[in-house]
């Protein structure tokens, strides 16, 4: 586990670096606020409506598909690492697994889930 200690240090440094930079800048940066300056930027026009409106459901679809295929990748990593130990059984299992997922993928294609328009 000692090998992970430097990673932990890097995590702390990474968070600390960002936090310190932002903290410093809040101290030294000048602030002359006014209502217009603080309004949301919409190319100089008065902001219309709420910015946190509804957006295309496509983004959710992409997120769900991402989860699906990312899980596939997650299964592939341990298999790939122990590929030579698993032998033919492992190879066939994984090829079947990939084929089933490819079937799902072609189904998505057919259902036009990957089209943007």
């Amino acid at each position: 586990m000692l090998a992970y200690l430097p990673v932990l240090l890097f995590v702390l440094v990474g968070l600390g670096f960002g936090a310190v930079t932002i903290g410093l800048s809040t101290i030294i940066v000048p602030r002359r606020e006014n209502a217009v300056k603080n309004s949301a930027y919409e190319c100089g026009v008065e902001p219309v409506g709420n910015a946190r409106g509804r957006f295309s459901v496509k983004f959710y679809l992409v997120a769900v598909l991402f989860i699906l295929f990312d899980i596939e990748a997650v299964f592939l990593y341990p298999w790939a690492v122990s590929f030579h130990q698993l032998g033919l059984y492992g190879l066939i299992e994984m090829v079947l697994f990939i084929l089933i997922l490819l079937a799902g993928y072609f189904y998505l294609l057919k259902k036009r889930a990957l089209e943007w328009e």
Partner: protein, 489 residues
């Protein structure tokens, strides 16, 4: 070369795994068939799913007498697996038959429906065959996820969407309970394998270990949700009403049977020592479940809602058998599940035919006078209602007879048996209301149209035959039910 031992499969194993393989292949095939154009009136989804169910049933029937443990004891092939796999295949066939024309007329005939049906049955098979809490959960999720979607299949109907969402949210909670319970059981006993848990508990009595108690309680809650036992039955009426009628019929039989199959296996193989202490708790839950179901069903004007409450009540009867415990009680439960599946699907198959086009006429008042206009249909529905009410010579009567007969052998369960019999009497009222509507009411307004279809009629004929046969010749099925539980132990 390879360090990991390469597994070998006997020919027997391939047959035993046949249902799983066939259902998986059928699901994928259906999705890929989407690439080919289909004739406007074709129904290849239904054909593929029928063939898949028949193939699965044949595969498991071929090796029915064998016993095998597969995948390191996670999946077992034993008489109970065979019994339930055959039951699920039958339920699948009947669901396909009654969906055949119903889907076409309600304009939701998409191949995905049958793909979901297949994967849902796959989940049920895995649940019934799993000898490990992890595979139980896997099967449960596979079944439920497909059902969530199927419930919402009438996409344009608001109540269908609502039903789907309700079922999904509550089902997700229930899955969470189950999973947490599995984790605690694993923590308490050090294994997720049912046989190992059973062996551990037999050696080291842990009955008062809070982790074990909590774990088994949570697992039970998870199953109770799936089989719609009080107080986890709240979702049932809305979901049954909102779902397409064919789906309601399928899930009321299949999901309940699968839930009980897994519950029985867990109870008998793993938690036997704990269950003994639970008799009274289970009896109370059984009493609550049947009373809530029956009393609420009295007031329903919608047949689907009424059948939903009636399905809660039937879960209560089966829980009495579970409370009675032991192989005998379990056999009674298994017998009841089989008969209940047939009579309930039969009732829903009749409902799928009510109404023309996209309309769904399932109100009590829609039935008025139907018995004279369509004598055969009326007769079939009456027969299913009588069976559900438990009136001889129908199968429902034999089911109740076995359950109460087993339970009454335990003196401490006498009260719940009395309550059960009283409940049956109450239930006769609302089941007979249907008959009264059929034969003694004058139709008001436009009479309900009937969408005849050969597959649905076939489904009704099969279920009717089964309901009568198991009522008159119950011995055969009873022996099978006993064998299935005995083979397990």
């Amino acid at each position: 070369m390879s360090i990991v031992p390469q597994p070998t499969f006997l020919a027997l194993d391939w047959w035993a795994l046949g249902p799983v393989l066939a259902l998986t292949a059928g699901t994928i095939l259906l999705l890929l068939l989407e690439f080919l154009p289909q004739r406007a009136n074709g129904n290849r989804g239904g054909i593929v799913s029928l063939l898949t169910f028949l193939a699965s049933g044949y595969a498991v029937w071929r090796v029915a007498g064998e016993k095998r443990e597969l995948f390191g004891g996670m999946f077992v092939h034993d008489p109970m697996t065979v019994f339930f796999t055959l039951l699920f295949c039958a339920v699948g066939v009947l669901a396909t038959l009654m969906s055949w024309d119903y889907l076409k007329r309600t304009k939701i005939n998409q191949a995905e429906y049958y793909a979901l049906l297949l994967s849902s049955v796959l989940g049920m098979v895995v649940m019934a065959a799993s000898n490990d809490l992890v595979t139980v959960f896997l099967g449960l999720e596979l079944m439920s996820l497909a059902l969530y979607v199927m419930v919402g299949f009438r996409r344009s109907q608001l109540e269908s969407n609502e039903a789907s969402l309700k079922y999904f949210l509550l089902g997700a909670f229930a899955s969470g309970f189950l999973l947490y319970g599995i984790a605690l059981l694993y923590g308490a006993t050090g294994s997720s394998n049912l046989a190992m848990i059973g062996a551990f508990l037999a050696d080291t009595p842990l009955a008062t270990n809070p982790m074990l108690l909590m774990g088994s309680l949570l697992v039970f809650v998870g199953f109770a949700f799936k089989v719609a036992a009080a107080p986890f039955h709240m979702w049932t009426p809305d979901v049954y009403e909102g779902a397409p009628t064919s789906v309601t019929g399928f899930m009321s039989a299949g999901a309940k049977a699968a839930g009980f199959a897994a519950l029985l296996r867990v109870a008998l193989r793993a938690l036997g020592p704990v269950m003994v202490d639970w008799t009274q708790l289970l009896a109370v839950i059984a009493f609550l479940t049947m009373t809530v179901g029956n009393v609420t069903a009295l007031l329903q004007g919608n047949l689907k809602r009424m059948l939903a409450y009636s399905s809660i009540a039937h879960a209560g009867y089966i829980l009495v058998a579970v409370a009675a415990g032991g192989p005998e009680g379990a056999s009674a439960a298994v017998f009841y599940l089989a008969t209940y599946s047939f009579m309930n699907i039969g009732a829903f198959a009749v409902l799928t035919m009510l109404g023309k086009g996209r309309e769904e006429r399932v109100l009590m008042s829609d039935l008025a006078g139907l018995g004279f206009r369509e004598p055969l249909l009326g007769l079939a529905l009456t027969a299913f209602m009588l069976s559900l009410a438990g009136i001889p010579p129908m199968a429902g009567f034999m089911g109740k007879l076995y359950i109460f007969g087993e339970a009454v052998k335990h003196p401490q369960l006498l009260w719940v048996v009395v309550a059960g019999v009283l409940n049956s009497v109450v239930s006769v009222y609302y089941y007979l209301r249907v008959t009264v509507s059929l034969y003694m009411k004058e139709p008001e307004g436009e009479p309900v149209g009937i969408s005849w279809g050969a597959p649905a009629v076939l489904a009704i004929v099969i279920t009717l035959a089964a309901t009568l046969w198991f009522g008159l010749q119950a011995q055969g099925l009873w022996i099978q039910a006993q064998n299935s539980v005995m083979g397990l132990l």
